[in-house]
């Protein structure tokens, strides 16, 4: 009996083009489309920058110094960067910039008077880099870093010359005599600090997936009751020889199944997006750490941690469906039911992010306890609890989710057993609502 109810629920929802499109196809299109576009655009920008560098950058130079070290700089830029230096004569930087722009050049270097003298007297010299920016594009940003790199490259080049001339040491050593190698001792394992930094970055990304699934689940559940009211099928449904709690249960199961499908589709899209964006040069280093990291964070918390994490995600999604069905039941049609849960992501989003900024080792116990108890914090609390070895908070958090779930499920069943679900607001109340709308 319950089975045929669930099948009807899933069939009716899945065949709805709007749902199919919004929940299952859209994430695929958005992520894959965005990934492909981002990948292509980034690749194009990088090519543009590389081509410009290969062809040799053209730089306007206002050389107020005209001493031996500025000549060294010009030589360096020509030799190592294949740069074309166009000397400009101007009485002020702004005039020099006008000339630069009229020549169609992108950068102006100004070497002020006294540059060579400073360096000879062992004082740092300054080279001003002006970049003519037409647009805040990725290509422009790439080029800007090329022009500043020329100057910092020159500085290193000078260092090695100075070190060679004045000291009898290996310049490579002299320029970096100490290297820090940070290790982190985390939940009983020694981990590379770079990895941990990437890992904490991942803590910001990780909640996004459950958060999306949770808000999907809420809105699908709301839709499933909104549709019954809109299509006037509720009255028959409530008169059928089925216990009211079985109706509730079948609606929840149906929306859980569809949110599962939606999550899978989203996951496929998201991983495609990540891979196409990270296959591009710029992000290479960070994304490889991300990839090894996903295994990393779950590797750190182990099988028990992963199990509790999945349980916590399941109960959060279940709670969201139940809440969505409850809130949605106050709407009169699909649209108003959906608007009832439109902001549910806020109550999901906040606990997750408060949990991110909670330090399980340093914060007061009361705060950690409070955060563990508020609904929807569970997935993150579980991760943090296992990382910090304070597993009890993970368990408290999941238990609290189950508690909230029981409470909302109770209210929901009561609502389905009562008559308000069918007759909605009384007419008198409706009238006062119309008056309010006028203001």
């Amino acid at each position: 009996m319950l089975r045929s109810l669930v099948i009807k629920e899933v069939k009716d929802l899945l065949r709805d083009r709007k749902i199919l499109f919004a929940m299952i196809i859209m994430p695929l299109i958005i992520y894959i489309g965005m990934g492909a576009a981002m990948g292509a655009l980034m690749e194009q920008s990088i090519k543009q920058v590389e081509e410009t560098v290969r062809a040799g950058v053209k730089i306007a130079l206002l050389n107020e110094d005209d001493g031996p070290w500025s000549k060294t700089f010009i030589g360096y830029a020509k030799k190592y960067w294949n740069a074309t230096i166009i000397l400009v004569n101007a009485t002020s930087p702004s005039k020099a910039l006008n000339i630069t722009e009229s020549l169609g050049l992108k950068a102006l270097y100004i070497i002020p008077r006294g540059f060579s003298e400073n360096i000879s007297n062992e004082k740092p010299g300054v080279i001003q880099v002006y970049f003519v920016l037409h647009d805040l594009s990725v290509t422009s940003m790439g080029l800007l870093s090329v022009y500043t790199n020329i100057v910092s490259g020159f500085s290193k080049y000078l260092s090695s010359i100075i070190i060679t001339r004045t000291a009898k040491v290996n310049p490579a050593f002299a320029m970096a005599p100490v290297i820090s190698k940070a290790q982190v001792f985390l939940s009983g394992t020694i981990v590379n600090a770079n990895l941990v930094q990437a890992l904490s970055g991942q803590l910001f990304i990780l909640p996004i997936a459950p958060m999306l699934v949770i808000s999907y689940a809420a809105s699908i559940a709301a839709m499933s009751i909104g549709v019954e009211k809109e299509e006037k099928t509720l009255e028959v449904l409530l008169s059928l020889p089925i216990r009211r709690r079985d109706i509730v249960l079948s609606k929840l199961t149906g929306s859980l199944l569809i949110s599962l499908l939606a999550s899978i589709s989203m996951l496929i899209g998201f991983s495609y997006y990540m891979s196409s964006v990270s296959s591009v040069g710029i992000n290479n280093t960070t994304s490889t750490t991300h990839v090894s990291m996903t295994g990393g964070i779950f590797g750190l918390i182990g099988i028990p941690g992963l199990t509790l994490y999945l349980i916590s995600v399941f109960f959060s999604v279940f709670l969201a469906s139940t809440l969505g069905l409850y809130l949605g039941s106050f709407g009169e049609n699909v649209r108003s039911a959906q608007s009832m849960v439109g902001y549910i992501w806020i109550i999901v989003f906040f606990p997750l992010y408060i949990a991110i900024f909670t330090d399980f080792a340093l914060d007061p116990l009361a705060k950690i306890l409070a955060i563990s108890i508020i609904p929807f914090s569970a997935p993150l609390v579980v991760l943090k609890a296992f990382l910090s070895g304070k597993i009890v908070y993970g368990i408290i958090s999941v238990a609290s989710s189950v508690g909230f779930l029981a409470l909302v499920a109770y209210l929901l069943t009561k609502r389905f057993e009562g008559e308000k679900l069918l007759i909605g607001k009384s007419k008198r109340k409706k009238r006062s609502k119309h008056i309010k709308l006028k203001f």
Partner: protein, 245 residues
């Protein structure tokens, strides 16, 4: 003969304060077709919804097949099949999928469910259209599908709130014949409401005229016509409602 429906001193006040039913009493006997007639807003739908366990009485007692609608709603629902005044079908299901889904909820086994669906297709008269999604059905087609699903389960009591509303003459005729045939063949008791006096006269063994939530007269159509010295039920209705209006 035992009573399938017993309504005693029923009062229903809606949350907004509207007194829709005001001390209504009547009984429906086993195997009969009972018609509730009354002007718009008389409280017919409200009464039928209470009998179908969808609304709770404010006071009074309602029993269906011996079960109290407040104390034993699950038992009551097992004995009834209800056609609401305004109802739709799931738009993304085909007619036959809708019937199958409903049949599975009532039938004890697969064969029984298939038999119900077969009968429902016949009752509905939808032919090949039964394989189309209900979203493409006309109002009348939907009404026939829903009526078919109400009757196919052969309930102890079928509650039909304006069964032929929205149907053309031919289809209304078809539906009336089906209702009559079903009630007598399968010993289904039927409680219906209607505005169509011809229909009520033709179908019902007994009728009750309700007005402002109260029962004013009750009896066999022929008896009422005689009693009120009218030539048909429409005149009886006009006299009763006119007198009290």
């Amino acid at each position: 003969m035992s009573n399938v429906v017993e309504v005693k001193d029923l009062v229903k006040i809606y949350p907004g304060g509207v007194k829709a039913v005001n001390g209504l009493s009547f009984t429906v006997r086993e195997g009969e077709i009972y018609g509730l007639i009354g002007p718009n807003g008389a409280g017919k739908t409200t009464t039928l919804r209470i009998i179908a366990t969808l609304l709770k009485p404010t006071s009074g007692r309602v029993e269906v097949a011996g079960y109290d609608v407040v104390e034993n709603p699950d038992e009551v629902r097992r004995n009834i099949s209800y056609l609401p005044e305004e109802a739709g079908a799931y738009r993304n299901l085909t007619g036959i999928e809708y019937l199958r889904f409903m049949a599975e909820l009532y039938a004890r086994n697969r064969e029984e469910a298939e038999r119900m669906v077969k009968e429902a297709i016949e009752i509905s008269g939808l032919g090949d259209k039964i394989y189309d999604k209900t979203s493409v059905y006309s109002k009348g087609m939907k009404r026939r599908l829903l009526l078919a699903r109400t009757l196919m389960v052969k309930p102890r009591l079928a509650i039909l709130d304006e069964p032929t509303s929205g149907l053309d003459v031919i289809h209304a005729l078809h539906v009336r014949n089906i209702v009559l045939k079903y009630a007598k063949e399968h010993n289904v008791t039927i409680l219906l409401s209607s505005h169509n006096m011809l229909e009520v006269e033709y179908l019902c063994d007994r009728v009750g005229i309700i007005y402002k939530g109260k029962l004013y007269v009750e009896g066999r159509p022929s008896e009422l016509i005689e009693e009120y010295k009218a030539s048909n039920l429409e005149e009886v209705f006009a006299k009763v409602v006119g007198v009290h209006a």
